[in-house]
């Protein structure tokens, strides 16, 4: 693994000098180049398009009985009818809409918050870093689902509150990853030069640090989407969902509560769960593809819900990260 000094040599490749092509361009290339990431991207895009155009595609309205409850799948009703005689295929399209809306919006909140905390902690260091990392440690240890249950239940389970709760409580991983990256970036030559020439901190962060951490932010964001979609179904299943909205989570809940299992109406309960699995898988594949491109050593480790605190201290892990990045460009 590269020793830290190596990055200060003028000949060292990769991140030492301000890079030739922007990191975000690399993200796109990573997605096109990596087979699994590409598959994930295609699947996710198709699902997003389907849910955007749900009102045009859905064959039946979702607030109206269109046949005998629990009718099995037929030519008229591709996935049969649910307990109230609603068309499952139409519900699925609309449900995916809400689930993805929750997933994407909560992720935006989590990513912005996580990046902000990570950049500030990593760049400022000292007391602020210490305080922010204590906070992060705390949220890393606390069981998040029970916490979300308590907050959402007390606050009132509207769609907006659920988005806010998931978003505000799941920024931890992003913050940790970004902080580690920023801390190592801070010592690179081009940042030091920028500081020496009198660039302000804001300028350094916006111009030099943010573009460099963007790939990691994107990778974490995509992984966060899967986490948020997952959590929405869990909350909905426990009765903490907006009763006025159909989501994939509430579909699973209804299937459970209203006897789809005992009636053997598998078509009312298999599709929503399968769709959640596909969304989560697609996001995992994309996130994993981006991360492995930027750090081949990471391989599959990031797929854990929470990253293991691997053996070496922060200094060592930064080197391995930087070493990996250099490895790709060499």
């Amino acid at each position: 693994m590269a020793a830290p000094q190596i990055h200060e040599l003028p000949s060292a490749e990769g991140l030492t000098e301000a890079p030739a092509s922007s990191p975000m361009a690399k993200v796109w290339r990573a997605m096109w180049g990596n087979k699994t990431a590409f598959v994930g991207l295609v699947v996710l895009s198709v699902l997003v398009i389907l849910s955007i155009f749900a009102p045009l595609i859905a064959p039946y309205p979702i607030n109206q009985q269109v046949g005998q409850p629990f009718s099995p799948p037929s030519a008229h009703h591709l996935l049969g009818l649910d307990d109230a005689g609603y068309d499952v295929f139409s519900l699925l399209l609309y449900g995916m809409r809400i689930s993805l809306l929750v997933g994407f919006s909560a992720t935006v909140i989590a990513s912005v918050l996580g990046t902000l905390i990570g950049v500030v902690a990593g760049y400022r260091g000292g007391v602020i870093d210490n305080l922010l990392m204590r906070l992060t440690d705390y949220f890393l240890v606390i069981p998040l689902l029970p916490l979300m249950i308590v907050v959402a239940d007390l606050w009132g389970a509207t769609l907006f509150h659920i988005i806010a709760v998931i978003g505000l409580l799941s920024w931890t991983m992003t913050a940790i990853v970004i902080r580690a990256q920023v801390r190592s970036l801070r010592e690179y030559m081009f940042i030091r030069r920028a500081r020496a020439t009198g660039a302000s901190h804001t300028r350094i962060i916006v111009q030099h640090i943010l573009p460099q951490v963007m790939p990691l932010v994107v990778a974490n964001t995509v992984l966060n989407i899967s986490y948020a979609v997952f959590t929405e179904t869990a909350l909905a299943f426990l009765g903490i969902g907006d009763p006025s909205q159909v989501s994939l989570g509430t579909m699973i809940e209804f299937g459970f509560q209203r006897g789809a299992i005992t009636d053997g109406a598998w078509w009312a309960i298999v599709p929503p769960g399968l769709l959640v699995t596909i969304i989560v898988l697609a996001c995992s594949l994309i996130g994993r593809g981006i991360e492995t491109t930027f750090n081949p050593r990471l391989s599959l480790a990031h797929l854990s819900m929470r990253r293991p605190r691997l053996i070496p201290g922060p200094g060592a892990s930064q080197n391995s990260r930087a070493g990996g990045a250099n490895g790709t460009s060499a």
């Binding site: 240890v141 606390i142 069981p143 689902l145 426990l238 699995t277």
Partner: protein, 320 residues
Amino acid sequence: MRSKSDYILRRIAAAVGTLFVAVSMNFLLFRILPGSAAVSMARVPGAGPGLREALTREFGLNHPLYVQYVLYLWQLVHLNLAVSFYYHQPVLGLLISDLGNTIPLVLLGTVFSVIFGVLTGVVGAWLRGSVFEHLSVVPALAFYATPVQWLGLMLILLFGSVLPTSGRSDPFLFNPSFMQESLSVLNHLILPSLTLGLVLYGQYTLIVRSAMLETLCEDYVLTAKAVGYTKPRILRAYALRNGILPVISVIALSAGFIVGGAILVETVFNYPGVGLAVYNAILNRDYPMLQGAFLILTVSVVLCNLVADLIYFRLDPRIT
């Protein structure tokens, strides 16, 4: 260079600190959030201002917030977690008997997932590039992505006719012997713990696999190969131990996730543990119960993390 006892003390101090923050937050959440317990309690239909005032005084809500906080801590030190609105019994007693049901479920699920995860992970790394690698990674990814509650429902659909799907034991056993009762309890544990095990094992597979891949690239493994040790010996004596090490910290870090999974699994299988208590507390608007369950879950997770930290420290001399 820090000493060993110093490290242990720091870990314990950190755990105590986290617990303190958790307890304080537990207090604040239920006082500050809109629609908090006390307000909704006084919202009985047809209640006059008198009831509200009586309730407020009875629960000590007329005191300023910091006095309430001290009172709360004081009661907590005496292990008083208040009385359930719904069951009219002390929350702690109810939750402890629930915890007695949850622990076997979680243990069984975790043990299954760790054994299965380590096995498939090692196979995936060792037979890299063969069909077996895909056979190990693809199911791991799929189960990892599956919603817990849905997987439980799928297992009920598949095995519901052969295995019990609800409750802790068969309530219709007539005057059962100890053997019969235990068998019934075990039988009822199969599907819930299998569900939990299946959703958990995927991440262990992936982590063991990547840790093993990394270990197999280390110089000492290369040296062992050059010396001419057989493959199984290298695996057993050199790679496995280092490859499995991260699993311990991952189990600890996923303790929060395991708890979340347990809530869902217990709800699906109507299994009377702390998770089902959470679910019922939400249904019944039983805030003392919800608060108590949240506290118990948090304390367990923090303690698990502490224990894992200490085990890890014992196993890996490199940590300081």
